[in-house]
Symmetry: C2
Subunit: 411 residues, 2 copies
């Protein structure tokens, strides 16, 4: 039986990765090689022979493009991307197959041993896909966690992309005040922000991990709606426009004496940055300004302590303690229902590890990209607080999003 | 051991369905009762004791709202909606549990036998969720197909909602010509259409079945981009703005002498209608008008033959034959790659059964809502053709979307 490594080498020229990589920059090529190498090391650590990747988000992570493909990544050797044939398929797109069941025969024809223990994306594919794909191998193991852990530590090229995205996201936020007109509803104001984002090339698509995180491009919350409870796992809720999208903006009017919290993510190259700013219509009570200052203080304190190795659970406890000391414990991260986190990783999906949450034993690592969002809900007034996307470096947290942080007037 | 039916009756007052139903109209109450009854009949037919529903789309179908919930629907008796507790939960929201593993104990405490054979949503939940939920029961069976089959035949209230949606969708399309300005890119034109939709209350969220159907609100295709191949299963492709969203509009300019195909779905109440219209900039060749007329003829012929009991495969073959007879076989439903379907069911998700596709053995049923979309790609010019959402009735197909069908000039 031929040596798997050599066998894979033989078909390097057919490797589908080549074609997708070829479409990317040299920097990205190098970066994709790094991601693959890290995955292969992980596959080895898990004692598996290979991982089969087929979800859109993980194909994007590993190949830089989304395709109707099955990427077989052996612990050792050259990955093969099998692309589902539909009509003509460019050979360079990869190894053309009609269905996943064709993969073993293709490998056998080339004397490549079929991997025995294979990691599959247990949290990213349906139970039905798992059943179908696991039938191809002797043993299937859960592999989503491995890729989520790898994706939590951004690579150099990913960090470049996220920096670019944060700059464009900042520009978008600087434009927000001039998009407001008196008498607008939450939805009308959102529609103007969405249009501005789209005209700038925003991709619109919002990717989240899990089955409970549906939203359009983001949320606009004002007045009482800021405290409305949602079944989704966002920091704050909002009633939403309809029971089929029970989160975020309503069709209700933006009223004088309320705050308007804008939490619309940035996505220009497949990576999501998260940023929230608070605006006001007319005069709002001092209580709101004070809570906003407390949120900014929490942000600064967490950022100051956010070194690699710091416990996420401890950072959350610090935020809660600061809110309580300020007498705002019952308004921190919601009112009727309080979210139990104050920050989360972000990347290809808006909710990546680590999460700065109650009881979390995770620790920060250099390369984490964290959306930090201390927020308070002030009854009748609305939400105040801040959200920025931060890069965890060896020397501390670097703020990537940079729109002005004070409560700006819209009128 | 108590009789399951009685046991469930005992806790009717706790049934979570009450609360969601209570928020809806009498018509909707009656309709939700009908959907549940049909599901219960299906559960019995499958020889199962119950179905556990937890996906957003199926919770929306069965309760009219999305919640972080597990809806246990016994073959006989009253369903119970278990809602995941987070902070305070309104008792009327349902039976509050911290995790799905709490459900068996809750039933046992009330002398309700734990169902043995339970249908789970194999195609709607992750492999990881399947593993977790199936561990609660003696035997788990694939249940997504049952709900997809039920959802394919719309209920009276769903049909009302879809009629309302189609009217609003038609209004949106009537407004499109005045949203164009000379020199716009595909993306800029799309941003104006998206804004118009959102201002009218469009929910934005686009739901599709399966892991290969990501798009923002819809697509705008002009000139050469109309023939560009996408990895997603839409009728036509488009290069898209970025490899992370490889479908639909680009940032390229809308050029004189090309068609602009607008395929943006309607979603104002959680149900998607599908409608496509073609516009032109300047003069386009007679060849394009001719292909457009052929598409309209195919639409009329399929609509004429689309009676309950008609084979979807046969309807597809008729469309292909008409395209071939017109000498346009190689341009039907794409150029470099041709989609192998000409219509699809639509509802809570854009791709519901039945599909009017090559080799389909499915037959039309009264209550199906079908998006019929014969389209051609004319090299250098763009796409032409039509898409409307139709209701299959006992007496034939009724067109629900009604924007003008001719190729309208934008300038």
């Amino acid at each position: 039986m031929s040596n798997p490594k050599e066998a894979y080498q033989e078909i390097t020229t057919r490797s589908a990765l080549e074609s997708s990589i070829a479409r990317e920059t040299a920097a990205m090529q190098q970066d994709l090689d790094l991601r693959l190498k890290q995955l292969q090391n992980g596959v080895s650590r898990e004692g598996a022979d290979a991982m089969l990747v087929t979800s859109n988000v993980n194909l994007l992570y590993l190949t830089g493009v989304i395709a109707d493909a099955y990427l077989l990544v052996p612990a050792v050797g050259v990955p093969v991307r099998f692309v589902r044939r539909r009509g003509d398929v460019d050979e360079r797109e990869g190894v053309s197959v009609r269905k996943p069941e064709d993969m073993p025969a293709w490998l056998a024809d080339r004397g490549i041993p079929l991997p025995g223990r294979v990691l599959l994306e247990d949290e990213d594919i349906s139970a039905s896909d798992w059943r179908r794909l696991s039938a191809l191998f002797r043993e299937s193991l859960p592999g989503s966690g491995l890729l989520r852990a790898l994706r939590a530590v951004k690579t150099p090229y990913e960090i470049e992309v996220i920096r670019r995205t944060a700059l464009r996201h900042t520009e978008l936020y600087r434009a927000i005040p001039r998009l407001y007109q008196a008498g607008m509803t939450e939805l009308e104001f959102s529609a103007e922000i969405e249009r501005e984002a789209r005209r700038s090339g925003h991709l619109g698509v919002f990717r989240a991990f899990g089955r409970r995180m549906e939203i359009f491009m983001g949320s606009i919350l004002s007045g009482d709606n800021a405290g409305a409870v949602s079944p989704f796992d966002f920091a704050l809720g909002g009633r939403g426009q309809h029971p089929s999208v029970p989160v975020g903006m309503t069709g209700g009017p933006l009223r004088p004496g309320t705050t308007v919290m804008v939490d619309v993510s940035g996505n220009w190259e497949g990576y999501l940055t998260d940023q929230t700013r608070v605006f006001r219509i007319g005069e709002i009570p001092e209580e709101a300004y004070r809570a906003h200052r407390v949120a900014l203080a929490i942000q600064e304190e967490i950022a100051r302590r956010g070194l690699p190795g710091t416990s996420c659970g401890v950072l959350y406890d610090i935020a809660v303690a600061m809110a309580a000391t300020a007498g705002l414990g019952d308004r921190f991260m919601g009112a009727d229902r309080q979210a139990r986190f104050v920050g989360h990783g972000t990347g290809i999906e808006i909710n990546e590890p680590p999460v700065i949450a109650a009881g979390s034993r995770a620790t920060l690592q250099a390369g984490n990209v964290i959306a930090l969002e201390p927020k308070f809900v002030i009854p009748q007034v609305g939400a105040v607080g801040i959200e920025n996307t931060w890069l965890v470096t060896e020397t501390g947290m670097e703020k990537l999003t940079a729109a002005p942080e004070e409560i700006l007037p819209l009128d």
